[in-house]
């Protein structure tokens, strides 16, 4: 065998192969042919997730080499603390394969790779009692560099594949949310019709509810996974109903709601505001609305929201039959969020107390809600 000719062939094979597994197998075979190496491994900087290939086997192993002598010997090189492009290290040691099998090694050659390859180094190893001569070592260094070039390709391909999968997941999520929203919209239409007093009443309220559902989706897509502040939600809904700022007050700690919490609560605030503008404190010049919330401590923290109207003169009696808003508060919130609710029609306006297990409606409970709750009210 002409080693130079053989190396050129191996370079071609590596270039054509592309995928990580194939390249590492080709390198293991070549290392055996060129310098009698037992196998090859691709080392990560942290020492975990290293890919090990043995010349005679098809199988590749992903190993945690952090406790191996090979990794310890390589780590000054991997950290850039040692100069030189290679280390020959001779000390009897072993690599533990994921199968539990222990691979005895005597000598290893470590060739660091450029950061652009996405990998820290290539290692070749020999069984105890075996090693390579200086020409063999030079050839393996060349082989390692070629493998490093191939790694640039497979790292890029793998990143593409990951992104494509992520895209697919996002589009499945989006599709799921869209369909769910359409289903929700349809049942809201149906329920609105069943609870409406007249055709005009139905059209008017339905339009407003669709508007609220639309605002909710808007808030959610802007916020992403970060969630929506309860204060922002209340303000957005009151603003949409053109409630003047002087006629209401808000008080409570910063609470970030997750998607389901936002969906259920935004429509609730919308219904309460609509009712108040028609019959309650927002319908009279001197009426006032106080929205406040607090987070209780303890084993299972609760978010307690109070909607307190005062100064109204007309909402003294409960409606004859349960309307959409009342159903939302008395049925939807308990069903969807495990809430306990109390809706009272008092002479001054509506009083509504909503108590929701914090975990059912809020994101990032420890960092946001609790810290903010301790921080007091604004």
């Amino acid at each position: 065998m002409d080693p130079e000719r053989y190396l050129v062939d191996v370079f071609d094979q590596l270039t054509a192969a592309g995928a990580r597994e194939t390249c590492v197998r080709i390198a293991a075979q070549a290392a055996s042919e060129l310098a009698n190496a037992e196998g090859v491994c691709i080392l990560s900087a942290a020492g975990d997730g290293c890919v090990v290939a043995l010349a005679p086997r098809e199988q590749l192993y992903v190993c945690d080499l952090r406790n191996s002598g090979l990794y310890r010997a390589a780590s000054p090189l991997l950290r850039g603390e040692a100069s030189g492009s290679r280390t020959l290290w001779g000390k009897e040691d072993f690599i533990t394969l994921p199968t539990g099998e222990q691979l005895r090694i005597g000598v290893a050659l470590i060739v660091p790779l450029q950061p652009a390859t996405g990998h820290a180094a290539v290692g070749f190893f020999w069984q105890p009692g075996r090693t390579a001569d200086s020409r063999g070592v030079r050839r393996l260094e060349l082989l390692a560099k070629a493998l490093g070039l191939a790694a640039i390709g497979w790292t890029r391909d793998e990143a593409h594949a990951t992104r494509a999968l992520e895209q697919q997941r996002l589009s499945a999520d989006l599709q799921h949310r869209l369909r769910n929203n359409l289903a929700l919209m349809r049942s809201v239409v149906r329920r609105s019709r069943e609870t409406a007093e007249s055709a005009e009443h139905f059209a008017l309220h339905l339009e407003a509810r669709v508007g609220s559902l639309g605002r909710t989706q808007g808030m959610l897509s802007t916020a992403g996974d970060a969630g929506v502040e309860l204060e922002e939600l209340v303000r957005t809904e009151l603003l949409a109903s053109a409630v003047p700022e002087r006629s209401y007050s808000m008080q409570g700690p910063a609470v970030r709601l997750h998607a389901k919490g936002v969906e259920s609560l935004a429509l609730t605030v919308h219904e309460l505001a609509t009712n108040s503008l028609k019959f309650g404190s927002l319908a009279v010049p001197n009426g006032h609305l106080a929205v406040s919330w607090a987070v209780s401590g303890g084993q299972s923290p609760q978010l307690r929201i109070s909607w307190v109207e005062s100064g109204a003169t007309i909402a003294s009696v409960a409606p004859r039959r349960r309307g959409f808003g009342q159903e939302l508060i008395e049925c939807t919130l308990p069903y969807e969020l495990g809430a306990r609710t109390c809706l009272t029609f008092s002479p001054g306006g509506v009083l509504c107390e909503i108590e929701i297990p914090l975990e059912a409606c809020a994101t990032d409970v420890d960092q946001h809600a609790h810290k903010a709750a301790r921080g007091g009210t604004r």
Partner: protein
């Protein structure tokens, strides 16, 4: 009598509804009741759904797939083990369904309520 049977095609069937959205659940339940079914639930989460199928005799399960991030497949598998037909009512496409449940009838949201009743009837009779 014949027309009465057609109008209430699910007469005598006990159908469990598992759905986490209240309004969607109410809509499904009232359509099933109108078709003559006795509705169990609705169950809003995995635990409630599992408790329902373990405690009560049922003829068919109508299941939403994603319940607040929990997948409903454990309920579907238990029903399958007991030869009780299941229908998925979901916003997800077929690729989300595990292989061993792949032949379960699937209706896409928003679910056609007439098609749902027909699917239950076909599965149970």
């Amino acid at each position: 009598m014949a027309s009465a049977v057609r109008e209430r095609p699910l007469q005598g069937l006990r159908v469990l509804v598992v759905e986490d959205d209240y309004f969607i659940a109410v809509e499904l339940c009232s359509a099933l009741r109108a078709a003559g079914a006795e509705v169990l639930g609705p169950a809003r989460d995995l635990e409630t759904g599992l408790a329902a199928i373990r405690e009560e005799p049922i003829d068919c399960g109508v299941l939403d797939i994603n319940l607040r991030g929990q997948m409903v497949f454990q309920i579907a598998s238990e029903l399958r083990a007991r030869d009780i037909p299941t229908i998925f009512a979901t916003g997800y496409d077929a690729s989300m369904i595990p292989e061993d449940l792949a032949d379960t009838p699937r209706l896409e949201k928003p679910v056609d309520l007439v098609a749902l009743c027909r699917a239950i009837e076909a599965a149970c009779r």
